[in-house]
């Protein structure tokens, strides 16, 4: 079957992530869109499939010392260190506003132990206004409870199982790309009952100031994001989506609508837009507005038809 491009923008954009169906596959990534409500009065968030909040921890965190960012070729390094207001302020000050948003709201949760994550989920289960949780198993910028701690398949599986038993909301595991075998971590999350895996978080990197013989960031290393990592991210999404049955939420350097579709093609069921929001807060919304048109131009009737369709003609089965 040959592609039959149409010029209509009537493609079905919905995408399913376990118990949650998103209106479209574009989600604002954690840490790049505030708690989710900051731009709600000037950007129409109904265009987004969803937003993932800044990572919330049990107690407030001040974050890392400056400098916290440095731009690198086609990318940026950050070392924020999970600065956030903590669970109590998130519940009282942020959640009431998030519940009003016209898109899905996913709370990003971070913990130094499985028990901390359990307590976060148990507390937030008492609240309305959330459609899911994305567990941040992959922060590269904290001493405890970061990507190294969670790069342990058994721990990941048992933690996902513990969290899944406490919620009927969609549970996503956000994974680190800084492991030897990302598919092994994704399979562990799946075995634990996660509804989706999100990848990639940032790649560990650094930048050096020759003149002062020092690191450019306040800590020796940070996490690299932006268009520079897109080829690395696409490869990991492709590998992982072939290794698990649960959906993959793909991300890493997405800056254009074609970047979105490339991630779908290699197997992502939804994507997250991150660093592009720093350049312009409407980045995700602008991409979302163009997805239907571009899908139709490429001959796909739905997001679903495009997911994992790499190597196949549009709309048809794998050509023999």
């Amino acid at each position: 079957m040959s592609p039959t491009p149409t010029q209509t923008a009537s493609a079905d954009l919905t995408t399913r992530l376990g118990p949650l169906t998103l209106a479209n596959p574009i989600v604002a990534a954690s840490g790049t869109f505030g708690y989710g409500d900051e731009f709600a009065d000037r950007i129409d968030l109904s265009h987004l499939g969803g937003v993932v909040t800044k990572t919330v921890t049990l107690l407030p965190r001040a974050g890392n010392p400056p400098h916290r960012i440095v731009e690198t070729p086609a990318g940026m390094l950050n070392s924020i260190g999970l600065e956030n207001v903590g669970l109590a302020a998130f519940r009282t000050k942020k959640l009431p506003r998030l519940a009003q948003l016209p898109c899905a709201v996913i709370a990003s949760l971070g913990g130094e132990t499985p028990e901390e994550l359990t307590r976060l989920v148990e507390a937030l289960e008492e609240e309305s206004g959330l459609q899911g949780y994305e567990i941040n198993f992959s922060c590269p910028n904290v001493k405890a409870g970061g990507a190294r701690y969670w790069a342990n398949a058994k721990l990941l599986e048992s933690t996902c199982a513990s969290l899944k038993s406490r919620t009927r909301r969609s549970l996503w595991a956000k994974l680190s790309p800084n492991v030897t075998d990302p598919a092994e971590m994704a399979r562990a999350a799946e075995a634990g009952g996660a509804d989706a895996v999100t990848l990639v978080n940032t790649f560990v990197g650094t930048a050096v100031d020759l003149a002062t013989r020092s690191f450019k960031l306040g800590r020796p290393t940070g996490g690299l994001s932006g268009p520079a990592i897109k080829p690395l991210a696409l490869a990991q999404v492709y590998e992982v989506s072939g290794a698990v049955q649960i959906p993959v939420v793909g991300m890493g350097g997405i800056a254009s609508v074609d970047d979105v579709l490339e991630f779908l093609l290699v197997g992502a069921s939804a994507v997250q837009v991150g660093t592009a929001h720093f350049l312009t807060p409407s980045a995700g919304v602008r991409l979302a507005e163009r997805v239907a048109q571009r899908l139709s131009e490429l001959g796909f009737a739905s997001v679903h038809a495009m997911v994992g369709a790499i190597g196949r003609p549009a709309g048809g089965p794998i050509a023999e």
């Binding site: 505030g34 900051e38 400056p66 960012i69 207001v85 932006g226 350049l279």
Partner: protein
């Protein structure tokens, strides 16, 4: 400039627009560039001390983030708002801006500007930190209120006078003093040496004197000391590495001074966020020893 500065500047309300580059060149004989961008009239007039995030349009491949710059001048003419920006080419971002001769993307105005005191105003500029103080001086001139303008730099090529940016005359009674460290223009020495000028010293005999400063953080710290000795208040414009300018990226943190009061609405009790809590803050709220 039509915006009213107030004692308690409101939180910024930004928009993002494209603007035409009216001029964008190295100032003759100087090390700094000056750009004037023509924006739609809907762009909110900035308060002195506020800043904008600036990027070339279209963005060249490989460049990711906009760059923060204080507004140096702002005026309305016909159906447009014109903003002036003073900058130095120091890296890839400012180099791309220097090359963008047609359009810039402007996101702003951002941050908290200088609060206007009722007493004498002493403006202290270090190098290209003169930029927001030119806008403040123009605001004072519009109100017919005199200022002391202490303008210091390493040398004549680094020193930018308000008239280099086309700014008008100060209000009657104003004092303008220039210093350079090498003596190539104005008095030789550091900018705070000019505080011993009798016309400036006389200002501190009046109630409510306030320092306004922008420049290297070492200067801002010194302004804090000078103000404490003279029982004057301060508002200093912070500089920080910044990805977004809108409070989202949490990059532009400056440590708070130990024991400094933390407002109830503060999002972080350990750090000031230059983009939202500042850039203009009282000097004694900053832990200068640990500031970047």
């Amino acid at each position: 400039m039509s915006a009213e500065s107030t004692l308690a500047p409101p939180k910024s309300s930004w928009i993002e627009v494209e603007g035409g580059v009216v001029r964008n060149q190295l100032l003759p004989g100087k090390r700094h560039h000056y750009a004037v961008i023509e924006l739609p009239a809907s762009f909110p007039a900035p308060l002195a001390g506020q800043f904008a995030m600036l990027g070339p349009s279209p963005s060249p491949s490989g460049l990711l983030l906009k760059r923060p710059m204080s507004v140096a001048r702002a005026w309305r003419e016909a159906d447009h708002l014109y903003l002036g920006f003073l900058y130095t080419v120091v890296g890839s971002g400012t180099q791309a801006l220097a090359r963008a001769r047609e359009r810039w993307t402007v996101l702003g105005p951002l941050g908290r500007g200088f609060p206007l005191s009722q007493g004498p105003r002493i403006l202290v500029a270090g190098g290209r930190g003169v930029a927001p103080l030119v806008l403040l001086a123009e605001e004072c001139a519009r109100r017919g209120e005199a200022v002391a303008f202490l303008n210091g730099a390493r040398n004549a090529a680094e020193l930018i006078a308000p008239e280099d940016l086309g700014a008008g005359a100060f209000a009657e009674g104003s004092v303008l003093l220039e210093t350079t460290e090498d003596g190539s223009r104005g008095r030789q020495g550091r900018v705070l040496d000019a505080l011993d000028d009798p016309r400036v010293r006389a200002l501190f005999a009046k109630p409510g004197a306030m320092f306004y400063s922008c420049g290297p953080h070492g200067l801002l710290e010194a302004v804090g000391h000078a103000a404490r000795e003279r029982k004057a208040s301060t508002s200093v414009a912070l500089e920080a590495h910044m990805a977004c300018g809108t409070g989202i990226c949490r990059s532009c943190v400056i440590p708070r001074a130990p024991g400094a009061p933390v407002p109830a609405e503060a999002s972080n009790t350990s750090f000031l966020l230059a983009c939202l809590d500042g850039p203009c803050v009282p000097a004694d709220t900053v832990d200068w020893k640990n500031a970047p």
